[in-house]
Symmetry: C2
Subunit: 207 residues, 2 copies
DNA sequence: TCTGGCTCTAGAATCAGATTCTAGTCATGG
DNA sequence: CCATGACTAGAATCTGATTCTAGAGCCAGA
């Protein structure tokens, strides 16, 4: 899809605009930042902004995908090593929170924009940019479920059960209502596993 | 705070505007509906809209509070009768989903606007309009936790654990990704209780 | 080397739509 | 009956997103 970019300078200014955008959106909010703001911070011209992104929403979407990629890149590495269901679930939950703590601006942006119309409208594009990874993870969940390593449940609830609480806690954090105390990721990982582990197994593993 | 409204007609037109707004927002999205759209559907004039709500965001916030009240009104009744922790948790989760199914437009609106800046900015106002109810519920959770009817956990995670999965599933539903199958509320209520019940107690109560 | 075509940058001009303003109308309390 | 404040109207203004026109820099092929 992406055609080859001829000049490196074009790519540079694209990045400058994205960086400026994250800065402005974090500081002022998406609706309140104007193209003029981004122009000033990035040093680009209006024409340049529109050349690269087409519209204000285009910036939001590109930035969203950019942050999502960072997030996934960092998760991918950790997941490849994990093989049993418990480790899989715990790793995903833990990583989600730890990553957010390490990249607060990007995380806040992702959390805030997730349901924003500007971004929701471009679902198609976002999926095609990141969908494989999620699809893959999802099918892994189903495999675990079928082999009895996870509680059998309607497929649509696995993701909500695994990440819903983390998402909710992180939202509260993103809006400044709570802090992310050290160790909170373990609390949520425990909870997620309590939710998803097969009924018969007690808390300790049976040797 | 609310000063007495002199005329019933004023109140009527206020309602007409809110109804029109819910209709337009659902149909076109919040950002895409213009004051002109709302004016046409409601039959009010621009001046009238601004007299009642001050700004476009004012409409969004008033509507948000309106829907939240509906939701809470309906929950309040059911909660008053419940006394043990398990029933409390299950009722809240179940109600959340059942109510959304019964009031899809209002539910979608609440889900979509929850993190929208327009609404987030007015947190203050929203809290003062609905805060008692939530505060009360929250303190009830803490009481249960202290008396050992719930797993002891950091206070900030109770709400996420209880409602996070439901919220996440409902978001997927609001965006048309999944359906709300009959009985799904039981699945989530079970899961919430699995997460929150004290470790030692098995599913059945020990008499 | 020259030319066409493409990416990219500039910034002025346009346009849509939110908000403000002025001028009333109407009901009520005094 | 008058003054007042809630309320309605709709024209005028203003802000900021988007579009448009022009031009610079660069590469490929003639």
């Amino acid at each position: 899809m992406e055609r080859k970019r001829r000049s490196a300078t074009g790519e540079q200014s694209r990045r400058a605009i994205l960086n400026a955008a994250l800065d402005c959106f974090s500081r002022l909010g998406w609706a309140a930042t104007t193209i003029e703001d981004i122009r000033k911070v990035s040093g680009a011209s209006v024409g340049s902004v529109y050349h690269h992104f087409g519209a204000k929403e285009g910036i939001a979407v590109a930035l969203y995908i950019d942050c999502l990629r960072l997030h996934q890149e960092s998760l991918r590495g950790r997941l490849e090593r994990k093989h049993d269901a418990e480790a899989f679930v715990r790793t995903i939950v833990t990583h989600h929170i730890a990553w957010s703590r390490e990249h607060p601006e990007a995380a806040r942006y992702l959390l805030r924009m997730r349901r924003e119309e500007a971004v929701a409208a471009a679902e198609q594009e976002i999926q095609s940019a990141t969908g494989d990874f999620i699809r893959e993870g999802f099918s892994r969940l189903k495999t675990y479920a079928q082999s009895g390593e996870l509680l059998p449940l309607p497929p649509s609830v696995y993701l909500p059960l695994m990440l819903g609480p983390a998402q909710e806690l992180l939202s509260a954090w993103a809006n400044g209502h709570v802090e992310l105390k050290a160790g909170i990721e373990k609390v949520l990982a425990d909870a997620a596993w309590r939710c998803l582990r097969p009924e018969t197994a007690p808390s300790r593993k049976v040797p």
